[in-house]
Symmetry: C2
Subunit: 803 residues, 2 copies
């Protein structure tokens, strides 16, 4: 490809910094490296105004040096690009353990002191910067929520590109510079995320500039990409769809010149792609976006050898290249030489502040990457323009008479959200939008796809904004990037396969938990997760498709972020979804099946039920409410709610006089004590629903243990008998699933009888009848091997037909 | 590359089947396709001996047709290869929803009837085969545990290559044919698994032949690789290190000729690589292994158009291309034509059995891929030759006097397991073997790596058998493949990042749960998972590295497979590990920290403790055992055990006369009721440990809810007050972690006092003293910002120094 950098004066200037500019770049880089080493080693003498002694050294040396100089070199050059072009950019550090380099950048740019006023731009501030690093009560050694300018935690590896691609969607003016480490590049999620390029529309979205930083080693050995031939690496990245620009070496100032030229070239190509797409002379084919491969030594500018062994350029400089510095005078000497090699006296003034030229190197205000509002997306968040969710209500004249696919209503709601919010709402789903009955969105938006489409394809194309890719990691991660830059969305996926991205749910939850402690981090739209193909209804899929594990994952997060909703029908779902779309900084998990299901509540009832989170369904039980019932049948989750209502009906008809109360829980967190979760209902409310002595038979959508965990500490929690998914599954009907997991209406009736304090006449006979029903069911399954009756035993009344 | 297929007569024959052979191939393929369509549609008239009517059609049509004909074409050709060469091979179907094709293959090869005698090789058997498919009480629609010849569940996508690569490690004579679907190819785990090629040694390991089957579409739309340019796909795969052979089309018999030639070429190159490596003229560089890209239409040989809309070759044939067949006479006619197009009368004899020529097409006995013992690895499993684990014991003269890194001992044990079992044991770890203190294994084995190594690298090279790659998905999946083919191993990883592969743990657990029901599946070595960098000890990493979520994931599996161990010290760890290495078909989760920690038990005590799973530590408490104590302090997990023992010591010294019992739990499942888990202790044993009325303060390594879940149903379970990880984390000392999570010795003492039935004199003062200690701690943290004292507050006695 011909260089684009002579085509425009700014690009030309960018590509060829003069000597003075290179000196500035280098000074900033040295300052950053100095601060990085200082953070790892120093507790005193931060400016080396006196000779270094053992007392100046931290008692315990922690941190990662190896990747840091590469990260800061890139940061310096991108900052210069921003200054020369005015480009809005954010920086995502895939090798996030290079935390000190990013902290140093925020400090040199002044942002750090703005948000953490204790860390002043002078010698005491410098000392504080050093001492807080990797210390109790201080900051983590990784890029984290506390790092200004970050939307990407440097902990669990693999998500830097998904965050970057999510950040630039519908963000046409944003450039996301995403540094991929060669350790991270070994992970599955990262390898699966290069394909983001197949989904980015240059006319509407911003650009990601991936920089694959190969420094050859991870903690203890070489990396695959670091040791593959250059040809293979180029071929791999070209195969993903990138236009590879390579920079390699360690010579100075040569590397500054070469990296500046490469960055200018990459930027020029990005702008050319965007201009062509936006000015209308684009043929619609996917651009080949530029990507930089930077090969620089691990621990670059650090000690070459320690005790005669090569350190710089090897895995030995991954963490702390010089150990035992307090005890070993030789190491102390090497450290001092290393620190002084950056010439701190040129970089900081007498007060200890970065010198004027260093400070002036930073772009202005919000253009500083450490201060970008895109990396503190709450600052840019605008509420969704939401239609009135009540307009999508299903008419429910009486409970259990209407059958509907509840998620279809949510699809219609989201269709109109798409229309009203063309710049700030997206649905992310692994290839199941239609299957999940959310297909109404396709009336207003195609799926986004930048590869070739054909006449046989439907609802797909470059202008689409519904994101489908068969990768939970991409879908989840893109939505995180989209959320953290201030936009709204929903991730809809298979319940069982939500565990594929469970660690992303965990890590994003941790991000939100931490952010809640930082006043400068504005709240962002919540991460909304919808699970619609559930454990109980996988009629033709097998046991592998049956797993409600994500509920437990979200339950274990802090109450400040975790929300779990199990709406039993469409109107409740609409009310819950409306709440989730309005909320901020939560992980909202919504679980509801996509198949036709009985509808229980009118819209008004649903609104009230959702607001309370749990309530007594008078119409379903026989409990007059004036005294305690004989048993409480509680439920959370659509399929088990059906079984619970059916069980209550059986009891009503077959055991007149036996008082059954039916309680449905839609907001799982209401079960928790208020001290454990803000949604936890008061003990009074809890007792009003569940009494404080009557046994409760609780039919739960997920693993039964979750309910035991939630009701712990409630009055006589031992009285809760929970039925739920106990890992009994196969290809079968939903009713058979409830039988296998001992949560069918018949099991619930028997549980009710077994646990009721008062046993009315007929109870024994009813138990026998239930046993007989289950035997009949079993015989039926064996006899009718190939039948998969969708409805049989799958409504309120059918039990009677066969009773 | 020059074709290798003229170099050897067998290859030559393989590459160029004669007309009769092509006819045989095609007949077998037609038979397979016929059975596939039959499984999806038919409940009667299985051989089309009469005209098809609505009654012959299943009431509900479920299954996936689209990928099946491609899967069966490949199967047919590989079977022929096996017949001609005698090669041992297994078949892994990445697009596992092509289940009916693999079931059909096992049926045509006779294996199905051998293991499921009800499914006979005649018309009734055929009907049973059809009716059981995707039916309650039958088999799932996906390739599953029930499918003979499979080690790969076709449910959650992404793991076909990791399973294949794991299967061939130390299996020099095995060829694993791994079909990758283009939907699956979009997942992160799959994209991250191409790099298996960088870890396979042709001299010692078998070979994987990946076949990327591009049929362009997934459920509802096109795929990225299906729609990328051929150049980019080739470039991508070449970049991963493969030698790409392409076959494309739908013409017959042309495709048979071309695929046979491609397969022969690929096989020839594999054998040439292996011969060169094994005969000694190999220079040690990584071979470029062949890979086939097969482009064939989705739903190939199915109906071209339905109701005027193109189906074959599009996403519309992904599942059931013809719907409403019972109701729509036109669809019924199309189905009959489709079925008859395979000419069943030529393929099955009068009895309904596959014709002789079809049956003779299969390789002999165990060479049939559906009967391969490698795919029923329990048949090949040999016990590990284990050294006596007691030889690695740490000498513990009295409790809490010796400090050691417990996992180092496990490393020594594994070192000697490596030596004694050079062909059937491997450790898999994402780059942390040394960091996890397991580095002793490097005394006898390098890390395995086939890319370039340099003089600065240590313990790495092509002969290495310790597997390190920075990908939990690869490590976990390779071990699964290794286990399922009958070999033993261990996956050691960061506790928090175990959630990255949590869904693999779930899915492998499901596989083992299902296999337990199938008598023909021999038990395989257990999946052993060791978590060593735990939530409580991530001194320099942040909150992102703190998450004990995997415990909960394993707890939710069925008792037949789930095992969770929390050994508190080295000797207990050795005893637990020894048990795990001997066990079969479990998921064994072991959690223990890698840092220096106090040692409690002698080897003999550890053996007894492990055998019981939980026990009273008399020496730690003040409970004479003659009557109930005032409080029970229980613990599970190393760090919290330390705090518990320290709390008991404080109570002993400061509240003489107050009776404290200390119970340590090493096998978490013993807490469960026996009816819920086979390890569950009897109620008598439970009461002996925990009494049935005294309050229990339980300090737990994981999320507290897990204990509430486990002790549910035990006498007065409400009396358990659990402290554990409550998502309070940051970069800090382990002691500070216990303070933040309210599980420190001081919190436990206060909990003990608050919950004891009898309050002795001095209790109030002691509570105040505890509060004061916590305040001092807080002040200390603030004052000593940069200190990270490794030991302070981190032993039994230190509290006294500052008390």
């Amino acid at each position: 490809m011909t260089a684009v950098t002579h085509q425009h004066p700014t690009l030309k200037a960018l590509a060829a910094p003069g000597d003075e500019e290179v000196a500035q770049l280098d000074a900033w880089w040295r300052a950053n490296n100095y601060l990085t080493v200082g953070q790892i080693y120093l507790r005193g003498n931060p400016l080396l105004k006196e000779p270094l002694t053992a007392e100046h050294i931290k008692p315990r040396l922690l941190g990662h040096w190896g990747t840091s100089p590469g990260l800061s070199l890139i940061y310096a050059h991108v900052s210069r690009l921003i200054r020369l072009t005015g480009q809005e950019a954010i920086y995502l550090a895939g090798p996030g353990h290079g935390g000190p380099a990013l902290v140093a950048a925020g400090y040199l740019e002044g942002t750090y002191s703005e948000i953490y006023p204790d860390v002043t731009l002078d010698e005491p501030g410098l000392l504080r910067l050093f001492r807080q690093f990797s210390s109790p009560g201080g900051i983590p050694s990784h890029v984290s929520v506390t790092t200004p300018g970050s939307i990407h935690e440097g902990g669990e590896l693999g998500y830097v590109l998904v965050h970057a691609y999510g950040a630039v969607m519908d963000n046409p003016d944003l450039l996301a510079v995403a540094v991929v480490g060669d350790g991270e590049a070994e992970t599955g999620p990262l390898e699966g995320s290069w394909k983001g390029v197949s989904f980015i529309n240059p006319a509407r979205d911003g650009a990601v500039l991936p920089i694959l930083h190969l420094n050859d080693a991870k903690i203890a050995g070489p990396t695959v990409l670091g040791r593959k031939s250059r040809d293979e690496v180029r071929s791999l990245l070209a195969g993903h769809g990138y236009d590879v620009i390579e920079v390699e070496g360690s010579d100075l100032p040569g590397m500054h010149h070469r990296f500046a030229a490469a960055l200018a070239e990459a930027y020029g190509r990005i702008r050319a792609i965007q201009r062509s797409a936006r000015d209308g002379d684009w043929d619609g084919t996917r651009p080949t976006w530029p990507l930089i491969v930077l090969r620089s030594p691990k621990g670059w500018t650090g000690p070459e050898k320690v005790d005669g062994i090569t350190v710089s350029g090897t895995w030995r400089s991954h963490q702390v290249p010089l150990s035992g510095v307090r005890e070993n005078p030789d190491h102390l000497r090497v450290l001092e030489e290393w620190l002084r090699s950056y010439r701190p006296e040129e970089l900081f003034d007498e007060s200890g502040a970065p010198s004027r030229s260093i400070r002036e190197f930073a772009p202005d205000g919000d253009l500083r990457m450490s201060a970008s509002p895109h990396a503190n997306g709450g600052r840019l968040t605008r509420d969704l323009d939401l239609p009135d969710y009540r307009d999508y209500a299903i008419d429910v004249p009486t409970p259990a008479t209407v059958r509907a696919e509840s998620t279809r209503k949510l699809g219609e709601l989201m269709r109109d959200i798409y229309t009203r919010n063309p710049d700030r709402f997206r649905l992310f789903c692994p290839d199941e939008t239609n299957s999940n009955r959310l297909g109404a969105v396709f009336e207003v938006s195609d799926r986004g796809f930048m590869e070739h489409v054909t006449a046989d394809d439907t609802a797909i194309g470059r202008d689409g904004r519904v994101m489908e890719v068969l990768s939970e990691h991409n879908c989840h991660g893109w939505l995180e990037g989209y959320n953290l830059t201030g936009r709204h969305g929903m991730f809809a996926t298979y319940e069982a396969f939500a565990m594929v991205s469970a660690s992303q749910t965990v890590q994003h939850g941790k991000w939100l938990q931490e952010a809640a402690h930082l006043p400068w981090r504005a709240k962002v739209p919540s991460l909304n997760i919808l699970l619609t193909s559930t454990a109980w209804r996988n009629d033709h899929n097998g046991f592998s498709h049956q797993g409600p594990g994500l509920i437990q994952v979200v339950l274990n997060q802090r109450g400040t972020v975790s929300r779990v909703y199990l709406p039993p029908d469409a109107n409740t779902l609409l009310s819950v979804a409306n709440h989730c779309f309005r909320s901020r900084s939560y992980v909202n998990l919504i679980v509801i099946d996509k198949q036709p299901q009985l509808q229980w509540l009118t819209m008004d009832e649903a609104i009230e039920h959702t607001a309370r989170g749990a309530g007594i369904w008078d119409w379903a039980g026989t409990d007059a409410g004036d005294s305690d019932p004989d048993i409480v049948l509680a439920c959370a989750g659509d399929v088990v709610t059906m079984e619970t209502v059916a069980a209550a009906q059986i009891l009503k008809e077959k055991l007149p006089g036996f008082k059954v109360r039916v309680v449905n829980v839609v907001n799982l967190m209401t079960l928790t004590r208020p001290k454990d979760h803000p949604h936890g209902m008061s003990e009074t409310q809890f007792t009003e629903l569940f009494t404080d002595t009557v046994d409760v038979v609780f039919a739960f959508h997920g693993y039964p243990g979750a309910i035991h965990q939630l009701v712990h500490g409630r009055p006589d929690a031992d009285r809760f008998r929970v039925r739920g998914f106990i890992e009994e599954g196969t290809t079968t009907t939903p009713f058979d699933m409830t039988v296998r997991n001992r949560a069918s209406r018949y099991h619930l009736v028997m549980d009710a009888i077994n646990n009721a304090k008062r046993l009315p006449r007929g109870a024994t006979a009813l138990k026998e009848w239930c046993e007989a029903q289950l035997t009949r069911h079993q015989e039926y399954v064996v006899e009718h091997l190939e039948d998969m009756p969708e409805v049989r035993d799958w409504s309120l009344g059918d039990w009677a037909e066969r009773g």
